[in-house]
Amino acid sequence: MGDPMRIRAKLVGDTADVRVLMAHPMDVERKSGGKVVPAHFIRQIRAELNGKVVWEAQISQAISKNPVFAFKVKGAKAGDKLSVTWEDNKGDSRTDSITLGAS
């Protein structure tokens, strides 16, 4: 389990402007003192609105450390539950959720 994500969403009409900050090293494979440090990065991200997948991403190690993603979910309203899940290449994963419209 990684550290909690920070998820922020602003409702504009029925669109939720979502911004997610994840805590992850996003390491590329590199050599350090003659040893190979294996890559460690998030491979897949999924956003769900009330349990229904609304946004998905397949990503590589080219995403910056502590990734930030912003996207716009359609058909959202106050009180809806938005959850975001990531999975990395070592099998670790984390899900965090927020309720839209709640401060």
Binding site: W55, A57, A62, S64, K65, K72, G91
Partner: protein, 157 residues
């Protein structure tokens, strides 16, 4: 005495997690995590190869894709990119950095209930074109590119 015990515990638990993580990484087949992950594209070392591996070859240039990125990025480790697609029926947005060792950055699937927009922060090894390929509902592909100059590369992690 107590301090020794502490450090011993710390070390063993640390080792335990490491071993567990490695075991998980080894035992779990890669496709358990992502059935649709296109490993060939992620391992491709040039943009055309990656695009080909994704079956997105032959994309037409389009002005309907807006890429907002800095002209000059001072720090290649964090380059903010904003992509908005005005292509009708946009299904997914794929991002490539031509001069990165592995150009394919990722694909963002917006078809299931999101606007055709995404903001990401990416690593760039050196100055390069940032290429976006959009898959439309009619089965066609559209692309656009923008050059970003990098003063300090960011592929060292």
């Amino acid at each position: 005495m107590n301090g020794l015990r502490r450090s011993f515990l710390k070390r063993t638990t640390g080792l335990g997690t490491l071993v567990a993580a490695v075991a998980i990484g080894v035992i779990k087949p890669a496709d358990v995590l992502a059935a649709s992950r296109n490993d060939a594209a992620f391992k491709a070392t040039s943009s055309p190869d990656a695009i080909k591996a994704l079956g997105m070859s032959g994309a037409t240039n389009s002005t309907a894709i807006a890429i907002r990125a800095p002209d000059i990025a001072e720090n290649g480790a964090v380059v903010p990119i904003d992509i908005t697609s005005n292509v009708p029926g946009t299904q997914s947005i794929s991002l490539f950095v031509d001069n990165n060792p592995f150009p394919y950055v990722g694909t963002f699937d917006v078809a299931k209930g999101s606007e055709p927009y995404v903001h990401v922060r990416i690593k760039m090894g050196k100055s390069s074109d940032v290429r976006v390929v959009v898959a439309a509902a009619d089965g066609k592909y559209y692309q656009a590119a923008k050059e970003v100059k990098v003063t300090i590369g960011g592929c060292g992690g």
